[in-house]
């Protein structure tokens, strides 16, 4: 399903139902072989969809709220706040908005220019911010995190981590599952890379920074 809006707020709720109901906004466009599409302008859109449906949303500046359990969710917005409860996969791309994602079974992908993004739990994570802040409570699998001058904090669970974090002048703080013994590769120009992990063959942790700081430690969530 596709939803677009220039500046209006978008509220989507997934619930046990078979059809798509637009409570507020223009009628959905339904064509054989194509995703159901709702195209708004500046008005608020309120849409109810079946549980597990895939959703692609784009807005200019409206707030986006997705409640319930979805399939793959992609949201692109310039400045509206984005909230997603639960999904199989999430791909959120914002310039300056706040982002809140609850639980993601597969990959959580978050790209921001600035603003704060929070992900509760994800199967794997791909996080990128220029100057914003991204926090992920639990990442079970692979973690890729990059920030230019912002801050990324993540807790990585699981016995064989696959972690790759980079920053130019920002800070990346990764807390690992206690007892893990990964291969650790760090590099810096004039920044600081600190890790206190016992080294072994339990997966891989790579950290790079130019002048920023990267902390990889074992212990509690950030």
């Amino acid at each position: 399903m596709r939803i677009s809006s220039r500046s209006g707020r978008v509220d989507v709720t997934a619930e046990p139902r078979a059809d798509v109901l637009v409570e507020r906004g223009p009628a959905p466009v339904i064509e054989p072989g194509r995703p159901v599409t709702v195209v708004g302008r500046d008005e608020r859109l309120v849409v109810r969809v079946p549980v597990g449906v895939d959703l692609v949303i784009g807005t200019g500046s409206g707030r986006v709220t997705v409640r319930g359990s979805l399939g793959a969710v992609a949201v692109t917005t310039s400045s509206g706040r984005v909230e997603v409860d639960r999904a199989q996969r999430v791909d959120v791309r914002v310039r300056s908005a706040g982002v809140s994602v609850g639980e993601v079974d597969g990959e959580a992908r978050v790209d921001t220019l600035s603003g704060r993004a929070q992900v509760g739990r994800a199967g794997s994570a791909h996080l990128s911010t220029v100057s914003g802040r991204i926090v992920i409570g639990h990442c079970v699998g692979r973690l890729r995190a990059r920030t230019v001058s912002g801050r990324i904090e993540a807790r990585v669970d699981g016995p064989a981590p696959d972690v790759d974090v980079e920053t130019v002048s920002g800070r990346v703080d990764v807390r690992m599952h206690p007892g893990v013994h990964p291969r650790v590769e760090v590099s810096t120009v004039t920044g600081r890379v600190h890790h206190d992990l016992p080294v072994g063959d339990d997966g891989r942790v790579a950290a790079r920074t130019v002048t920023g700081s990267v902390w990889v430690t074992a212990g509690a969530a950030p």
Binding site: R6, G58, V75, T76, S78, R93, R146, V148, V189, V210
Partner: protein, 187 residues
């Protein structure tokens, strides 16, 4: 007076994420070294019939006669830049925006609405990402080794209708370590 020549093809813009911060943090000489490294990688991946239209600070404008070639090249460019980063030869991340449509030649430059759209798309791309318009995806069709992931209809400044965007990414192929024709994996 004759109309200026128009060419239809794929227009790509690249941008180095955080280049300004990098200049401040690492110094101007390191910044120039990074730009030279980027130029080497781009020169090594650009097909003979494509061209570098112009440099825009740390960014580049590229033109390709065919969209499929443009998509494949940009994905390969990201792969090579990632390799250069791992090797310590290029310390930053590049964003790529790609669109397809006609443009008007003005000397060596290209101008027009579709050039502007391509420039807007790169603003929305994430680090190490190739972001394509729907027009570029449709013109490209099937690109071997590349898949398109829908990321949303994005309103772009100065463009009346939202631009549908797709991330082009390399397909991860798992290879049976026992070699081709090895049969089903053991239970």
């Amino acid at each position: 007076m004759t109309a200026p020549p128009s060419v239809t093809g794929a227009i790509a813009f690249t941008d180095i994420a955080g280049f300004t911060a990098f200049c401040e943090a690492a110094g101007d000489e390191a910044a120039v070294t990074a730009l030279e490294a980027q130029s080497r990688v781009v020169a090594g991946v650009l097909p003979a019939d494509a061209r570098l239209v112009k440099e825009l600070g740390d960014g580049l404008m590229l033109w390709f006669p065919a969209a499929a070639e443009a998509v494949a090249t940009c994905v390969e460019l990201q792969r090579r830049l990632a390799g250069a980063l791992s090797a310590g030869e290029f310390p930053l991340w590049v964003r790529v925006g790609l669109h397809h449509g006609p443009a008007v030649a003005r000397g060596d430059d290209l101008v027009g609405h579709h050039v502007n759209v391509a420039a807007r798309i790169v603003d929305l791309a994430g680090a190490r990402e190739v972001l394509c318009s729907e027009a570029a995806r449709d013109a490209a069709g099937e690109v071997p080794g590349v898949e398109f992931v829908a990321v949303g209809p994005a309103p772009a400044k100065g463009v009346a209708e939202p631009v549908w965007l797709y991330r082009a990414e390399a397909v991860t192929v798992s290879v049976d370590a026992r070699g081709p024709g090895a049969g089903p994996p053991p239970r």
